[in-house]
């Protein structure tokens, strides 16, 4: 059979998409390693290695094919490593990565068929499996910069203060590139950030007894974990809906849940919980367009 039309193509390939996202994460990851020290590097390496190994092993065992080339396992490993607290034991990172690839992605049929973002699935799995090991514990950063950074959520990207601001900026730059190249749909992070910022600003001060419109907006937005979830995890094309309206609702839902989990649930990993919750609603959101079979 001859090659089918069209004979030209435009835009990134699947692998190009995955590698572009990974490349956009790289500067922030490198900065995080500089700030947090060798432990962070070991954490990243473990997560990526475990992710690649399980993709290879299961792919070969189940389908006799190697799908490492599509780049999605690399990205999953990177996201897992970036979302975990640096002080967690390495086996936790490995367990999160293996669960992400083996259970969340491959057991549903592999790339494109999972209904939850694999990295977030893995993160959730270890969150509830080893809560004590992951519980927030303040620890001065032991990085190469010799700067003692406070920790916002303990993750590689979680430094607070000025160091954390750099992390967030680097993530924002990477995210901006993805949005500009339309690798990520702008509707999702836009609605995510807008809904989260609005709710935090209006209602965020209530639990502390400050009254409305007194929420601490900069502190809520500047954490690396939030930027990671909004720009790199919620925008995963596989687990986010298609169509403008559905994407806006999806992003807004993420923002709202994130606010509830952070301010009322007091969970540092709130964004990583909010996105998988909204992932579950994607099949419903896909039905949003009124006209049948149309946008």
């Amino acid at each position: 059979v001859s090659q089918p039309a069209p004979h030209l193509h435009q835009g990134p390939t699947t692998r190009g998409t995955m590698l572009a996202v990974a490349a956009c994460l790289a500067p922030a990851a490198a900065w995080g390693v500089l700030v947090q020290g060798p432990g962070a590097l070991a954490m990243l390496a473990t997560a990526v290695g475990a992710s690649l190994a399980s993709e290879l092993a299961i792919g070969l065992a189940a389908w006799r094919r190697c799908t490492l080339a599509d780049g999605s396992a690399l990205l999953t490993g990177l996201l897992v490593g970036l979302s975990l607290p640096v002080y967690a034991p390495l086996f936790v990172a490995a367990a999160a990565a293996v669960f992400a690839v083996a259970v969340v992605k491959l057991s549903f049929g592999g790339l494109g068929r999972n209904w939850m973002n694999p990295a977030l699935g893995g993160r959730l799995f270890v969150t509830f499996s080893w809560p004590a090991l992951l519980a927030a514990r303040p620890r001065p950063a032991g990085g190469w910069l010799q700067a003692s950074a406070g920790m916002a959520d303990g993750s590689l990207l979680g430094a607070s203060g000025q160091l954390g601001l750099v992390t967030t900026l680097l993530l924002a730059l990477g995210g901006a590139y993805l949005l500009a190249r339309r690798i990520a749909a702008w509707e999702v992070p836009a609605a995510f950030v807008a809904a989260f910022a609005l709710t935090v600003w209006v209602l965020g001060g209530l639990p502390a007894g400050d009254g409305p419109f007194r929420g601490d907006l900069p502190a809520a937005l500047a954490t690396g974990g939030f930027a990671l979830a909004a720009l790199f995890m919620a925008t995963d094309p596989v687990t986010s809906p298609k169509g403008r309206a559905a994407r806006l609702v999806f992003g807004a839902g993420c923002g709202l849940l994130c606010f509830l989990l952070r301010v009322y649930g007091r969970r540092a990993e709130a964004p990583f919980l909010a996105v998988p919750l909204m992932n579950m609603l994607v099949p419903l959101l896909e039905r949003l367009p009124a006209r049948r079979g149309r946008w």
């Binding site: 001859s2 090659q3 089918p4 039309a5 069209p6 004979h7 030209l8 193509h9 435009q10 835009g11 990134p12 390939t13 699947t14 692998r15 190009g16 998409t17 080339a69 599509d70 592999g110 790339l111 494109g112 068929r113 749909a185 094309p237 596989v238 687990t239 986010s240 298609k242 169509g243 049948r292 079979g293 149309r294 946008w295």
Partner: protein, 435 residues
Amino acid sequence: MRAAPTFSRGGVRPPERKLPAASLPIRKACVPAEVLLPLRQHAGAPAACLVSAGQSVAEGQPIGRARAPLAADVHASIPGVVRQVREIRLPDGTASPAVLIALEGEFSRTGRGRRPQDWRQLSRDQLLQRLEAAGVVDPDGVPAAARLRKTRRAGLLVVNGVESEPYLSCGERVLVEKAAQVLAGAAIAASILGAGRVLVGIEASKPDALRAAAEAAEAAKAACAFDFEVSALQGRYPLEEEALLVRSLAGRRSGSRTGERGLAVLEVGTLLAVCEAVTLEQPQIERVVTVAGEAVRHPGNLKARLGTPVSALLEECGLLRAPARVIAGGPMRGFALEGMDTPLTKGMKGILALSRREILPAARTACIGCGRCGEACPWGLRPDELYKWLEHGETAEALQRGLEACSECGCCAFVCPARIPLVQGLAAGKKRGAA
């Protein structure tokens, strides 16, 4: 000349890659020693063969007679002897009988100038008869006569001067060099239709073609009673789709691809053939074809005899190296050729020898659900969903979701990061749905 908007939803902007062919005058291709003429160069059933092996034929002599709806006569494009009548495979993969003619004897038409006749003396039936006798076929396979006869009492003729597929420039060159004949063909078609208005749509990115068409339209307006209007369209692919072109030009939501809405659409190359068929009684035995691609040394537009092998045309333009893919037609809708002995046919607008760098092959992966296909679809469909329904054998569900509206323009597959053969899947589903 007026500026017109384009269709609003979907579409893509592929790289144009029309130079240098679009800026060079049409060249005359060498007459080949042998031509292979398929008896089906139209949408309908193959024409009945009128010749047998060993028989001598004159230039322009009918060798196939239309016997079915949407069929057209086929003529010998060179004088010679019929060597063989055999079954061949056309670029689209279907089979057709074809007549192999070896060059011999004298050219009875070429080089013998004829004085154009005044078509205004002819009746509607005589005009249609001449179109049928000349076997004029629009590139989509519908014979011009069938298209004009079917839409009786139409008020509007649309001249399709849009070529938004990359590389192709044969229509543009025909307009630049032969605008007067094209518009004469349009006047003939309009008078057959009984249409009072002729709308000519050309992309704004082709100023030479627009100027030539506007000048010819002024002249034609003075000569006959039709209201010619040339529009510069802000185009993107697939503006040449009839429904989109009509919507852009006439501003009405005419979803018709079959012309039942009181209008007919004809392409410029077809109108040139219409003009020659009526005023010179010239059968359609030649066409202008774009030969281009990175593997071609001298890209250009060639006026070549129908039935000329693709290999001869590529050789004439100088093949630099082994091309990664040779395509009959445009890069968006054309067919990859397996054999280079495929003949030039009435609807073939381009012969492209593309290098690997132009095609950028990539591995197919699973659908990652990015939704780009739906954003690119000019018909507002969700190609990814339709493909998945069809993959699971749910043709009825796919039909209910609008599969019928798919025109196989290829926008969805053009932007697909996973390189899923969406067009093939949807086309196969449509065929199953029709059966």
